[in-house]
Symmetry: C2
Subunit: 334 residues, 2 copies
């Protein structure tokens, strides 16, 4: 039987195995500080498709294909695809799954989707309901900007608190054996709202939920930041990371010395990208390349991966709602 700690932390006894991670990114992402870790880079921003939405779907299909090639596994052996994206009605993942004739669990977790899918994949494998799971998500700058803010063609100016949606997709193949590291724990996020209403300040909207999940996890496991080689957050950005440090300090935890934010590190610091990267594809592409690569080569042995999501829609903002956040967490160990 699976074990659940007081604050909700799930202990995976049979330790679902991470066998492969794959990602693909755009040109801009490949030119940033993490560029060398991305082995698959799109030669053009459309991936030879006619629309950004079709590009996004193709990126997700590409990642799934890479994963099953890595595992030398025929399509029909995928037990379940677990994933979602930021498009309305998660069309990217749904239409991608159509190509694989696999079972699909469609998710919506905003930019926290990668961790939501890893938690569910790990729990289904741990309990024996599936023997493998493809956990996947991705975003494209063009499709997401059109979806949440303005079409690119408008050339709208961006405020200094804004982040740049990553063109990238990432996926993890979980199996019940044979991986190079394991998901040992998972913690589902709560919806936390501090009343932020600025859709261009996602870091501020998400950091309270990141604090909530991380503190619940530390309490459940009687650990602190020092017990982990790295605490990886999704896309708080540079400003959001600073806010998280402050919020964690209020609760007596200092995470600043071994914290790494995927969004805050994916781009070179420059004016147009301001606070860094965002989007479900941000943490998905960085986790499935940079982080897993560092685990594989022995540089990291025990990592917290917590993807952070902002739960807004253009319509909720127009109707005067504030922007709640949600942060899901997994603990990965060699």
């Amino acid at each position: 039987m699976g074990k659940r700690l007081k604050n909700g932390t799930m202990i995976f006894e049979n330790k679902p195995n991470i066998c492969f991670g794959e990602s693909i990114v755009g040109k801009k992402e490949s030119e940033g500080p993490l560029g060398n870790y991305f082995k698959n880079v799109m030669k053009n921003e459309n991936f030879n498709e006619k629309t950004y939405e079709k590009t996004e779907k193709k990126m997700i299909s590409f990642v799934i294909n890479e994963l099953i090639n890595d595992a030398k596994m025929p399509k029909k052996d995928i037990d379940v695809i677990i994933g979602g994206d930021l498009m309305n009605q998660i069309i990217s993942v749904s239409f991608s799954a159509r190509e694989f004739n696999s079972q699909l669990l469609g998710l919506y977790g905003a930019c926290s989707t990668m961790c939501e899918s890893l938690i569910l994949g790990a729990s289904l494998i741990d309990s024996g309901f599936v023997s493998n799971a493809v956990c996947v998500t991705g975003t494209h700058f063009g499709s997401v900007e059109r979806q949440y803010r303005f079409p690119l063609d408008l050339g709208t100016q961006r405020p200094p608190s804004s982040q740049w949606t990553v063109t990238g997709a990432g996926g993890t193949l979980l199996k019940n054996s044979g991986g190079f590291c394991k998901i040992t724990k998972g913690l589902i996020g709560k919806v936390i709202d501090y009343g932020v209403t600025d859709a261009n300040n996602m870091g501020a909207a998400m950091s309270p939920s990141a604090r909530d999940t991380l503190v619940r996890f530390f309490e459940d496991t009687s650990t602190t930041a020092n017990d982990y080689d790295l605490i990886v957050t999704g896309d708080l950005g540079r400003l959001g990371s600073e806010i998280l440090y402050d919020l964690m300090k209020e609760k007596g935890y200092d995470i600043s010395s071994n914290h790494f934010d995927c969004g805050g590190n994916i781009y070179n610091e420059d004016k147009s990208r301001f606070q860094g990267g965002s989007g479900a594809g941000c943490s998905a592409s960085v986790f499935n390349s940079v982080i897993l690569e560092k685990i594989k080569c022995g540089e990291l042995k025990k990592v917290i991966f917590m993807a952070t999501g902002a739960l807004l829609s253009p319509l909720s903002v127009q109707q005067g709602e504030s922007i709640p956040g949600i942060s899901h967490l997994v603990c990965v160990e060699v």
Copy 2:
């Protein structure tokens, strides 16, 4: 350890318990043939909110509140809310979950969401990761029409193959003990596409996926329609149900004598509603009132509940994509 059959059917050994079902519907739904089963009916179509979207959120919160009242359970004791809706970025469930300070697993399964949430809730309870789960979804006619087709104010004409989005929400409280019936099996749907491109003919788009899931389930369990008191589908509508009968006959199964489609039965047959009801709230409200009530009073003992979803977005249709379907299934037994 959980057990998985060849085609993916999950066997729940610890048999997650259905403790309570709750629903709320609009006036039109209360005037249909199932009206007497709906104990909660909104007095006005706005539920005293300013927008249809806020109404939808309020309906979902209402259902969750009813469930925890039934169970005499404080808010803080909800282990996890599992659900989604048809709004972009599932704002109805996300903003509702904010009120309960509970963990949230956000889903997108189109109109199959109720079954997707029941499968995940059952598997998490069965494996001991949570002790209870609130599975919930809902739709509002006004919000969904605006989202997928046209704002109501346009007064657009509807073709005869169309269905009417149900104003309704439904939720199930699952616990690890103490229910009046149990979820004994679950089967995750595949994305199946027969190339239907008419967004006003959902029944045709969804019935191939319903056939796929049902045949996989019958094969896995070596059963036929006669082994169940009732086979409940989500919102195929009258036309979609006929298509499903034909498709099942091709595979050697006759389900016509003990099949019940929630969408096909929720409204009186008349011109404006054509093929019946649709929407995630359709099967959710009917399952959590009519079906569970009939199980409770002993009229039904072994039921297949399979919610059917059409995976489209307005944008995917505009970009020339066809409409795939997905159907998730649970088996409920006394």
